[in-house]
C-alpha cells in the first residue's frame, strides 16, 4: 500500500492538506489542515492507482470556494496561489452558492 499512500500524500499536499500517521492498523489516515493542524477528514489506503490525484483534482472548486477544507481558510489560499485563474473561475461559478 506504500505507493498508494504516497500518491494520496502528494495529491493532498497540493491543496494544503497533510496526511497524518495511520490511525487504525495502517489502513485509514486522518487528513489534517497543513495550516493549523485541524482534522479535516480521513481516507483509506485501498484507493486504486491514480484515484487520489483525480479526486483531489475534481474537488478543486470546493477547496477554492470553502465547500471543503478547514474553516481557517488555508486550502482556499493554497488553491488560489496554485492556480489563480482557475480559482477565480471557481468563485464565479459558485458565486451564488458559495
Amino acid at each position: 500500500m506504500g505507493d498508494i499512500v504516497e500518491e494520496i500524500r502528494a495529491a493532498y499536499g497540493r491543496v494544503g492538506i497533510t496526511l497524518d500517521r495511520p490511525a487504525t492498523y495502517g489502513t485509514y489516515y486522518r487528513l489534517l489542515c497543513a495550516g493549523c493542524g485541524k482534522m479535516v477528514g480521513n481516507v483509506g489506503d485501498r484507493l486504486l492507482p491514480g484515484m487520489a490525484a483525480a479526486l483531489v483534482e475534481q474537488q478543486f472548486d470546493l477547496y477554492a470556494t470553502g465547500g471543503l477544507g478547514c474553516p481557517c481558510g488555508h486550502q482556499r489560499e493554497v488553491t488560489r496561489g496554485g492556480d489563480p485563474a482557475r480559482w477565480e473561475a471557481a468563485q464565479r461559478r459558485h458565486g451564488e452558492s458559495a
Binding site: Y25, T27, L31, K38, M39, V43, R46, Q59, S97
Partner: protein, 276 residues
Amino acid sequence: MSEMTEIDEAEARGRTELWPFWRRVYAQGDPLPRFAAPAGTPRHRFDEGDGLPEEYRGLLLKMLRHEGERAGNKSFLGFMATCLDLAEAIFPDATSRLIKAEYLAEELKHAIMFHRLAVGLERDFALKDVPYAHYAFHLPRETWADDAYFHFFVDLNGAFHARDWRESSYVPLAKMSATVERDELGHSEMGYYFLQRICETPRGKAVAQHLLGKWYPAALDMFGRSDSPNVPKFIGWGLKSVGNAEIREAYKTYVDAKLAALGLDLPDERAHRRFL
C-alpha cells in the same frame, strides 16, 4: 435472557423520534425488491455443524470476508473508530453526532452476530483480520455530505445483500438476515436524512451535487463485475439468488429515485466506473 435479547431491549429503550430510521420506512411497506433464484436452481440447506462441501465453504467464507462486520476483525473495529473520529471532527450539531453513535452501536451489534456465526463456521476465520478491500470504503470523507453519502450508498449495499440472504442456504445467515437488512436500510436512511438537511440550502446542495460524482460510481462498482465467474457458483449453492448486474440494477433504481427526490442531477452511470 440471551445476550441478544438484552441488546434488543436496550435498543428499544434508546429509540427516539428519529432513531431507528428503518422504523418509518418499513411502516410504509417493504422498501426493498424481492430476489428469486432462477427456476430449477437446486435447493441446498446447511446449518451450523453440518459438513459443508469444500466449494460451498470456500464461497461462504469469501462472502463473509467481504461483509467484514465481525468482532474478531480488528480492521472492522478500526473502521468503526474512524467513523467516530470523523464525527467528532466534522459533526454539524450535537443531534447528528449522537445519531452517529447510535449507528455505531448497531454496527457493533452486527459484529457480535457475525462473530457468533463465524465461530460456528470456522474459528480461525472468526479471528481473521480482513481490511475492507473495495475502494468505496476508502474514499476520502472531508465533509458531512461525504459521510452522508457513505452511509446512504454503502450501508444500502449491505441492505440489498442482506435481503438476498433471506433465502440463503446457510441457515445461520438466513436467520439473521432480516435484522441486518432492516438495520442497514436504517443506516442508509440516516445518511439520506443528513443529505436532506444538507440540500436544504443552495450551498449545501451545490456541495452535495459535486460530491455525488465521487460516490455514485463507487456505489455502483461495489456490486462487482457483471460477468464475475463466481456468480453462477454462488447461485447454484443457494448463497445468492441473483447476479451482480441484476442486484446492481435494482439498487440503481432505488437510489436514483431517492437522489432525484433531493433535486440532484444523476451522474452518467458509466462515468468513472472501474467494475462494469
